[in-house]
């Protein structure tokens, strides 16, 4: 089986990524005033050498919410991606035409690792209503729209009121269920809507290839974790090919995909993760949880090639899983730091 974008072992990956990332650091230093000032203040002068990817300076991902960080001229901006944050702040990610093309191409190469080279019928665990109101086009809508490229003959598992649509799902399965088909949705929606529907209606999803994203937090009250999710889908619907993925708008085009045997995420060949000890910020040993840094050679139009996320994760092993490289998991989010302070009396009451 061709593993597509998941082929480099850790040594080869480090060797391939380091010079590219160092070059990107120089590129962004040259083209983003903000980034250059930051590197200068952090004592990372131009031309400084780096012995390892882990030595490169990172950017906290929240920076994209408060600052204009781009390495292209204003008139080259082709697309501005935004993501809504927990506090209403929005990340703004600037792409030129080339970057927009690259991210879509690399995302598709990554996803095709599990869907195969051809477009196959696709069931979306979402609603068509997402695209109705272009003005309020959400991150969720953008995510779904981006994924739709990987399939054909799309069907939506939810109606426009976001209720399960058994007729649409059954019709899709009647037409395409005997050959491989793609299912995409956010994890909790797959669980709450598609799984429930398939179980109660005894639908056969055994030819399905599920690609889903989103954490388990929203399912925690139902005591569902990844292992239980996979087990129940396999037992009750026959769906055994299920791939969770991890990604963020600030590193658009780069997705970390769950391997076939489940439970671990892997990095595509143009990316890596570094889990850092939140006290020393050194790389945490295998098995020790820490804060996740994501690196990718894709971001060229904005300085997002080395990002410190606010996610907690753990590396389970290196070169010892379904695919080569680091085998890791996301464990949750770092809580947001809160100020005590006098400036918060009454607003708190009305929250």
């Amino acid at each position: 089986m061709i593993e597509g974008m998941f082929s480099l072992d850790q040594a080869a990956r480090e060797k391939a990524l380091l010079p590219e990332l160092v070059a990107l650091t120089g590129h962004h230093r040259e083209h983003s005033t903000e980034y250059r000032r930051l590197l200068d203040a952090l004592d990372h002068p131009a031309g400084r050498g780096y012995a390892a990817v882990a030595d490169l300076p990172w950017l906290p991902v929240r920076m994209f919410k408060h600052h204009t960080l781009r390495s292209i001229a204003e008139d080259e901006v082709f697309k501005v991606l935004t993501s809504s944050g927990t506090t209403g702040d929005v990340s703004r990610i600037y792409l030129d035409k080339e970057a927009a093309g690259t991210q879509q191409r690399m995302l598709s190469a990554t996803i095709r690792t599990v869907t195969g080279p051809r477009r196959i019928p696709m069931l979306l665990v979402d609603t068509r209503a997402l695209f109705k109101n272009r003005a309020s086009f959400s991150a969720r809508g953008a995510g779904v729209l981006g994924m739709m490229n990987f399939g054909r003959d799309h069907a939506f598992a939810l109606d426009e009121q976001e209720r399960p649509d058994p007729a649409a799902v059954k019709e899709f399965l009647a037409r395409h269920g005997d050959r491989p088909f793609l299912i995409f949705g956010f994890t909790y929606m797959v669980w709450l809507y598609l799984y429930e529907l398939a179980r109660t209606e005894s639908l056969d999803l055994s030819n399905g290839i599920l690609v889903h994203s989103g954490g388990w937090k929203r399912l925690a009250d139902q005591a569902v974790d990844n292992a239980e999710f996979r087990r129940r889908l396999a037992t009750d619907t026959g769906l055994v090919r299920s791939h969770n993925f991890y990604g963020m708008v600030e590193q658009i085009g780069t997705v970390y995909l769950e391997g076939p045997s489940g439970g671990s995420l892997y990095c595509p060949d143009f990316a890596d993760v570094i889990v850092r000890d939140p006290q020393t910020w050194a790389e945490a040993p295998i098995g020790t949880p820490g804060v996740v840094e994501v690196v990718s050679t894709l971001p060229r139009s904005y300085p997002g090639h080395v990002l410190l996320t606010e996610d907690l994760g753990v590396v389970y092993g290196i070169d010892d899983g379904d695919w080569p490289g680091k085998r890791f998991a996301i464990l949750g989010r770092l809580p947001r730091a809160e100020a005590r302070g006098c400036s918060d009396t009454f607003t708190g009451a009305a929250r």
Binding site: H67, A339, C342
Partner: protein, 420 residues
Amino acid sequence: MQRHVHGGGPMSLALRFPAGADTDTLRLLADLAGEPTGGALVVGDERIAEFLVAFGRRLLAPALARRWPELGSLGFFLRRGEIAKAVASVAEQPGALRFPQGLIFHVPPANVDTIFVYSWALAALAGNRNMVRISARSAGAAEAVLDALNATLADAHPAVRDTQRMVTYGRDDAVTTALSAACDLRVVWGGDDSVQRLRTYPLRPAARDLTFPDRSSYSVLSAAAWRDAPAAARRAVAEGLYNDVYWFDQAACASPRGLFWVGPAEVVDPAQDELIAEIAAVVATRAPAVDASMAVQKQVSAYGLAAEGDATRVRFVGNAVAAIELARPEAVPQHWLGTGTFAYARIDRLTDLVPLLERRDQTITHYGFDRAALVEFARALGGRGVDRFVPVGQALAFAPVWDGYDLLREFTRLVTVTMT
């Protein structure tokens, strides 16, 4: 940890002090309207003073003061001598009698656990009946304070129970409306937004607000004094600065947000490096709780200043200390950057700060200047900004004069008797 303590139905309040069953606004106001045991309270009422001193003693108990150092400061504030001094400051003058305002409604900040006690204690000492809204999100030291208050009540004069209430209520406009309409003075602490929101609830025509909105505070250090200081004195400055910064997560109004070194660059540069080293040494022994979230918060803030060109150098000493060299004094941050952020700039003389400071600025903590220099600085500011100059280490020491108000005077009223 967050606690959500509030009563069930509309207009319902959880009674935190004196601890008791849920009540409602009508009952609360009726209870406070009655004549207290032993007669109406007077300014400096001995029944209240007695209670405050006993309560302060409890806060100074070693176990409590160790766990919550800020409660220790509160305990000192409530010693017999301090209270006597405060009462003496509002002693009656011939022909001018002083009386309590009446009923005071306090809305203290949710997040500074103890500030409500200062404002309430002075208001009670002034002889007022008080209603204090305790945030449902209060935790930690605030809970310890309430426990100590309730424990002290057992041996206290019943007049304390008759006149003082601390309550928690949720999102209930009706309660705020009722308490605002009933009070003679409303004391609002906290952010500009909170103050503005509270102002939408009408007071009676003769009642008024005493507001403590958002403030910023800074530190000024004489580089020459630092250069000439012996090691022990330098350590004392670092410890003072440590307390000012790390208590209340550097988020209190009086917590310094920026440091201004006064002196020529060749004296300031080594002094700044030495100060950060001293602070790092203090941090190593005190081990402040700076978690990963706070470390990321500081990175985001510091990196942000650098990206915008406001900072020229950013250094971290572990997670506890972020040292930020500002590009110019005007770049000093007015907003919270995360606990343990030392943003510094150099100036030639104190008065260079005059054009930078404004009404919003509250406390200047100082090291290495004589009184004459500070008075000259204060005169140059002319009251347009900065209400208080205190030595490094005393930023958070509450004083009966706060934000330019003499609180006991605010909490009382004068009745004049003129004969001829």
